[in-house]
Amino acid sequence: MSEILLLVEAKDGALDKKSLELMQGALGLGRQLGVATCAVVAGSDTARLAESAASFGLDKVYRLEHPLLAGFQPDAWVKGLEWLCGQVNPGIFLLSHSFVGKEVGPRLACRLNTALTTDCLGLSVDPGDGLLVRTKPIYGGNAIASLKCEGVPQMATVRKNAFEPVGEAQSASAIVEMVPDIGEDAIRVKSIKMVEQEVVELDKANVVISGGRGIEAKEDFDMLEALAAAMSKSHGNVMIGCSRPVVDKCWMSSDRQVGLTGTIIAPDTYIAVGISGAIQHLVGMIRSKKIVAINTDPGCNMFKVADYGVVGDYRDIIPALVKKLEEQR
């Protein structure tokens, strides 16, 4: 079989941690199959990124370099990666299940006339037919499916945390510069402007306090803020998160949404206030060390996965709790 290829992504100019996890997964498969494991970085100025990617024991790092690959214009990236696959014919192509991977993966798979499996938690190779076995959650996480697909390359996007990040290797990988053939005409969707909003990174928090549809009014999030302020004196970095209905009501921006289509986090403590515990929310926070739930419904799902449960109205519990915490100091 030919080489394994993976797409490396940058975050704030450095290697994204998700890419280090993807390298771990890809290198594992490479050893098992006895084939080379290579990475591609795409952009208009990839020298530094390629160099960082070259220190993790990969066989090669392709620098896919083109002015149109600056920023992330999906049309250009799909075209560039399609071109690269034509050059190197990878047997397996892996991407992170990230904003980039989710968009590029399906389109690229279609152009290469192969099949992609998205959001995989595990990958292995069937020794019988050599096909990639892709393990992914379905029905929001209520079932775990393993499946195989025909087609070359074998393609998958991989969920965050599916693998441990890879450690640095002793020798550096070879860096190969490639200039793809991308014409202006490849770009059919034109970016007019990027509106940057302040985004929070919930995965950096020690404690996340999330409100759900049970929160009656937008102002009531002030109570959660007060709790966060009280806890931040002793618990480190405390942030406010939410379930999806809160985003739907435009009370919070989507970077605060926890869950399948939001952020997947594992803080020391997760406090769920007025959140019922739908599977799509649970997959985002179930790995929290301790889970505390405040909910008026004793039968709600959140109590089934929580370590501590308070059956009651947050409007009674939280102000009293804040007062108590403040007294303690």
């Binding site: 993966g105 399906p106 798979a109 279609c110 152009r111 099949a115 992609l116 499996t117 998205t118 959001d119 379905i138 029905y139 929001g140 209520n142 079932a143 775990i144 499916a145 393993s146 195989k148 697909c149 059919r188 969707v189 034109k190 970016s191 007019i192 402007k193 990027m194 509106v195 909003q197 985004v199 806890m231 002793s234 618990h235 739907d248 989507s254 970077d255 399948l260 289509t261 020391d268 403590t269 739908a278 799509q280 649970l282 179930i286 301790k290 505390v292 004793p298 089934k304 996965v305 929580a306 370590d307 501590y308 449960g309 308070v310 109205d313 009293a320 709790l321 108590k324 915490l325 303690q328």
Partner: protein, 263 residues
């Protein structure tokens, strides 16, 4: 500009928000059974809402396209009650259990058969398999500009303007029509449909074309089923929950102690 012809792809699935205790995984048969009523996949409802808003502004026609087995009139007529104009069902035993690429092929064939269209909208992902592929692949197959994760869609002077959700905020993008857009929940929920309106509609006769693989002239060799090798329930997520009881004051005191121990 002429009034826009919009096609919304909508999938019928068991309610994805049913509690997990209502979901059973049959390991032997490799099947998931959900004890919940069928609904339209939530992001497809968002897509329909986006379509209705365009129609309110510019007029035009909304056609709902749905592939699947035993697609229920009752479930899909909700789309008509909300503001769609026509319904087309794609039914064939060959369409069962298809992978994303094959599903996109069938839907694309149907869209080509409908012929006159300016915009195709799909949900960002289906609420059962959560793959998030069909819309994007259709964009490729139809060979039109394709935008994903829309939080707002407008047609202005014959041009498509989309606000697309991106990790740092949102991006304004522009493309020509015809085009395909996948829609995210930030667009807003599908408007409320009064029950009486639904019931009235159900009584009214309505012709709903049903097309099979022959009608569509789709490439049967192109239709590939998902090859499941294994299906298992997830690891048990349950924890032993210590319930903190009593009056609110006492609960708050105890919880404060618990939180202090957790630091």
């Amino acid at each position: 500009m002429k009034e826009p012809q919009i096609i919304v792809c909508a999938k019928q699935i068991p309610d994805p928000e049913a509690p997990f205790s209502n979901v059973t995984v049959n390991v032997e048969k490799k099947q998931v059974a959900v004890d919940a009523p069928d609904v339209i996949s939530p992001y497809d409802e968002n897509a329909l809402e986006a379509a209705i808003r365009i129609k309110e502004e510019l007029g035009g026609k909304i056609t709902i396209l749905s592939m699947g087995r035993k697609v229920s009139d009752t479930v899909l007529r909700k789309t008509i009650a909300a503001g769609a104009d026509a319904l087309v069902l794609l039914e064939d035993p060959l369409f069962e259990g298809l992978d994303s690429g094959s599903t996109a092929h069938v839907l694309s064939c149907a869209i080509k058969k409908i012929g006159d269209w300016d915009l195709v909208l799909t949900g960002r992902q289906a609420g059962d398999w959560d793959s998030g592929q069909v819309g994007l692949i259709m964009g490729e197959m139809l060979d039109v500009p394709c935008v994903s994760l829309a939080r707002s869609i407008k047609i202005d002077d014959g041009k498509l303007l989309v606000e697309k959700s991106v990790p740092v905020g949102y991006e304004m993008v522009e493309a020509s029509l015809p085009a395909l857009v996948t829609v995210s929940n930030e667009v807003g929920e599908l408007r409320y449909v009064a029950r009486s309106k639904m019931l009235g509609l159900l009584r009214r006769p309505m012709s709903i074309p049903k097309w099979n693989s022959k009608d569509l002239g789709c490439d049967i060799d192109r239709l590939k089923k998902l090859q499941l090798t294994e299906l298992v329930p997830p690891a048990d997520m349950g924890r032993q929950c210590t319930l903190i009881e009593g009056a609110a004051q006492d609960q708050a005191c105890r919880l404060a102690e618990v939180l202090s121990e957790l630091r």
